[in-house]
Amino acid sequence: MARRRSYSRSSYGRRSYSRRRRGGIPVYPFVVLALIGVGGYLGCDPNSVSPGSDEPATASSSPQYSSVIPERSASKILVGSFNMQRLGKSKMKDPWVMERLAQVVRSFDVIAIQEINNKEQKAIPTLLTYVNKEGANYAYTISPLLGRSERYLEQYAFVYDTTRVRSGQEYTYTVSDQEDMMHREPFVGRFQAVSKSQPFEFTLVNVHTDPDEVKQELDVLAFVYQQVRQYESPEDDVILLGDLNQAPGKLQQLEQIPSMRSLVGNMPTMTKGEKTNDNILVNAQATLEFTGRSGTFDLEQAFQLSEKDALRLSDHLPVWAEFTLNEQAPNTGQVATGEQALTR
């Protein structure tokens, strides 16, 4: 979509974008957005990316749900979300589990992870050693420890294939919640597909609601989503994904947002197949890059597991959606290329 940004060399020699609206962030009495990281936008060096396909988008008005994830393709970006159910010491010590979690991660170009429970913060680095063992080049960004419990806290992470997607810790932030409206504040990350021309740029909002307060939190999330979209403007590909603890039809104000669409529908997202808790939500009018293919990742089927063994991985299934590698612009929006100065 339309890009009006500028970027320049910083004093550290790293390329960074300037943000004119720094300090001009919309403030809401209950929830405000604050940058934890440096913020700014991703620089795109046209000389360092591998060619992408110009295959046209097949943006569909009705997703074709599937419980089988497609093969990764050079012209598509596969985005996933997975509640890894208490990813901590026990799982880290179990190679059988870690190998399969790593296989799940390697099925995606970028995956949002929820329920990381390790105050020593070794869980994701350990997962990455499994993911990259055979030469893959995945990296991660991670949220602060979040939650209200005095006994344990959780973290969110994004894990992404650096040969396919650009991001970094400096392109993430946690939604600041001064009024303590949410148990775990959403974690936001900016991404850019690796492509020579008009790479798909998108923002992921990683969430895990509290099942005890899901009714209140879903309405707060609707507000947060709109605030993030406003803050990220002109970026309009803002994708909310994670464990919502609620199914479409009961997403309250999230479903009242014009053009908001669930990409998982009512497919069961729990390993036992009983509920739809996880989802990927997009603004269908803005995110024309969605190819129409989305669904769940059936762990039993993919790894030929019994339900009992699948539950060793997680009580949730990963959910996924496919997007085009390149921006699909329905209007005459400018798109950033190379050193072209684009103001925001």
């Binding site: 419990s149 005095e150 006994r151 344990y152 009580d315």
Partner: protein, 151 residues
Amino acid sequence: MLSLQQVKTLVSSGNVEEQEVLALLQTMASEDEELCAWTDDALQQIDSISPHLAGEIAVFCMDRCSSIALWACKLVARVKQQEAESDLLQTSLAIALAQHSSVSVQQSAAAALATFEGLTDQSRHALQSKIDAPDPRLRRLVRRALERRAA
């Protein structure tokens, strides 16, 4: 206190029996973050508590361990036929709200009081004493409990 494996088995079974509730509550005293997280998940699966267990659980609302007290308050809100034990349960919650040193426990007590059909004077007084609490979530939960009663 239950082991991690015992708690995981309970979570996977999706069926936490009432006789395990007290053991689960006590497990929340563990310093092991993973055990506490899984125990939290097990307790979350309990939809309702029989009135005969209510008194035993209510005692934990003032437990020194805030994680135990927090969960005890939550579970009191899930007691079936609260009216049968209303005064006893509300007394425990009102004391937790007014006196527990942990704001998280106070929040949990206020949220639990909002589930009762009628408030005792002690509960109302405890809620009103926190109506201007510095913690925004506690303030919100207290006001919600009082507004529900006024409606």
